[in-house]
């Protein structure tokens, strides 16, 4: 049993998530009982995810009760990132400054298309869960 699956089952046992939510998460990590998976595998046997999902659900203390469900195809992210080449050099300093103000020391001019591709291809390892007033989940499927 892998760590992700164990974590989901723990959350289910603790009552933090419902059975339906657990099923969705299992599907997202490709651990469904019937063997169906949202994503396939590439030539290297590595799971190739199709979508990046962002889900926001209201928690018990939520005042607004907003729900957000966004599904973005990875191919669209890759295609969109190529537009980074159109950022004029004059704007690089401003973008770098904005990154720095948010605590990220990034030099935009030094980011290559290969770097961006590497970032996107490694997003599949990412699962973010934030439990506050609202529950936020970011994962791949």
């Amino acid at each position: 049993m892998n760590d992700k699956r164990r974590k989901i089952l723990d959350m289910l046992a603790q009552g933090k998530i419902t059975v339906e939510e657990a099923e969705k998460l299992m599907a997202a990590i490709g651990e469904t009982g019937n063997g169906t998976e949202a994503a396939g595998t590439d030539a290297a046997g590595r799971r190739s995810w199709k979508y990046l999902r962002v889900q926001v659900e209201p928690g018990p203390d939520s005042e607004k009760g907003d729900r957000v469900n966004i599904r973005v195809p990875f191919k669209l992210i890759r295609a969109g990132l190529k537009f980074a080449a159109f950022i004029p050099r004059e704007a690089h300093a401003k973008v770098n400054q904005a990154f720095k103000e948010r605590g990220m020391d990034v030099d935009l001019a030094r980011i290559t298309p290969q770097d961006l591709e590497e970032i996107v291809s490694n997003l599949d390892d990412m699962t973010v869960e934030v439990d506050g007033k609202d529950k936020v989940r970011i994962f791949c499927e």
Binding site: K64, N69, I70, V72, P73, L76, A79
Partner: protein
Amino acid sequence: MLPMIVRFKVKEAGRRGFGLWFPAILIWIVLAAVMLVLLPFMLLAALATWGRGPGPRLLLIYPLLASVLWNLGGLTIDVDQKERTLLIDFI
């Protein structure tokens, strides 16, 4: 895959909602015509700014735009607030 249908739904509290299944192919046809008309101007701009401007990058706009549009299929944005509901789904 190029989305063929765009599903659009908006609903505000106390008002009648608005839902639409729009054949996106109509948008693509119009967009293709506009892009075709603009192509000579784009090429001229690229040539004029080749040495000292964004010339080479201008040539990439068409293939990049096509790549983004082609991969829109599957994009879903679903926002459900107390007063407003919005759904945009590229199918």
